[in-house]
Amino acid sequence: MANVAIKNLTKQFGDLTVLDQLNLEIPDGTLVSLLGSSGCGKTTTLRLIAGFEQANEGEIYIGEERINDIPVHKRNIGMVFQSYALFPHMTVWQNVAYGLEQRKLGKDEIKKKVDAILNLVKLSDYGMRKPKQLSGGQQQRVALARALVTEPSVLLLDECLSALDKKLRVEMQVELRGILEKTGITTLFVTHDQEEAMTLSDWIVVMNRGRVEQMGKPYEVYEHPKNSFVAGFLGKVNFFEGRVVEADKNTVTLEMSCGTSQLNVNEVSEAGKDAVYAIRPEKLHVKKLEAKDESATQLRNELGLIGTVQFITYSGNLSTYTIDCNGKTVLAEVQNQGKPEEIKVGDKVHLSWESTSCMRMEEQK
């Protein structure tokens, strides 16, 4: 077990630059997810660490050792493929034993280790079956057992849960987490599924166009996204984009294409500069504005936005309101408390939020 470090890694396929000076450190014994849309370079990163591709520039270290020039079969990695790539002509037991045989272990030792790992993934009774005779979830566990049994320095998982249906996937996420915690192995997990990355990882690395946009704990990248790509990739978000006309202690007056609004924010930008602020739909407080309501005037003077409800999407625990604020569409999510519906389509509402919820985005160049 060891930490993995990637330094200035660049990979080109023809004219296409897939990885652009990538830097990454995977701490010892943690599970790190590479998250990004397809084509962002996450799978290429994994394949470079495994050794299936050669980098154009940069270095890869496992522990202290630079592994760029070491062939795949000497790298001591474990990999679970998207298709599982179980050997169809071998039994489950033979599949798992394969890696140990390559390491020239004695028969008794191989038997002991294979039995132990099959027990860990709860497949002790399936050793004599062929992969085809197993369900998707079971095949997945065989693939995991096969990769883990050799005690690799790093475990690489390539979108390995995406072939399962949703219910099974969630079960496997929990199981995977449990198994990996027991083995304490450094793991790199490639996925495009943000929910999966959130549930499984110690660290999330959000990638875009061959670069790392942000690396952090799951709550960090969700609650404090660095820029609008990260904010938009993980979960839903409302963006306010425009020129700052006035900046106060915790408020900015933002001139947007649909009009000027005063927002309370976590961090002000200088007046005269362009800025992007983002706020998550669940951080918005929605209050109905009654025409004759006495509080209406008071609310109008409070900070926030006023708009008209256009759609309401009810999804059991949540209601999502699509609100038109002077031409700007804003999403707001409200927990349903079991009370009858108060707000209806066409109602005027007031939106407010804590200043910490409205996050300034680093500008993207």
């Binding site: 050794g51 062939p71 079969h73 990695i77 990999m79 298709s83 002509h89 890696g99 390559q102």
Partner: protein, 265 residues
Amino acid sequence: MKNGALSKLYILGILLFLYTPIFVLMLMSFNESRYNTLPFVFSLKWYEALKDNTTLMTAMNNSLYIAFVTGICCVILGTLFVLGSQVISGKWKGLFSSMMVMPLSIPWLIMGLSLLLMIRAFQMDKNMFFVFAGHIIISLPYSVLVLQARIQALDSALDEASASLGANALTTFRRITLPMLAPAMVAGGFLSFMMSFDNFVISYFLIPAGITTLPIEIQSSIKFGFTPEINAVSTLIIGISLVCLAVVGAIMGSSLKSIFNGGKA
């Protein structure tokens, strides 16, 4: 209901069309009459006569020998080709593959003729080497087609998985690639064997004087007086082929089935 009966009748019609001639031949090999005429009287005398017909037996042995060598060569060459073509990229791969199976579309008559012309042009004598060469040329595409279908259906991640588990290229080939290809090698070899075994045209052009193969012998015996011994030898060949198929099928089990079902592993 009515539709079901109709389509069954239709299928029966096609099957009759395909198998009636062969059935008649097999039947006549057990008929006593010398002139393939009815009434049918069961007899094994033509099989007994076959035993003593050394010309026919030698011809059959020659055909089996040629077909066996051809089959083995086709499997080896075909396997090397499909493995090699995995490494080639892009347009070259397509070009090579098309050129490999091209002999399928060239009439055997022309193929045989061109080989004969070549031998003459270089002032060489007909010999067994050219017989093998000719048979391999026309049989190889069948092996290649079967092997190609198989290798394309294989998950390329299998090799990578093997490497990631610590196996070097040679071990990966021996323990993963070869076993995965084996059913296709057997099936492809069998096809090439059959193509060579019943080939008349190529052998006719290239066979050295004094040597004969079964198809040539059958052809000439039709010219000089047909005996039901030919029926008997044909029936034996069909029988042996079916037994071969059954054995291969039993050994390879589902893997072979998957080849005939479109190569899905």
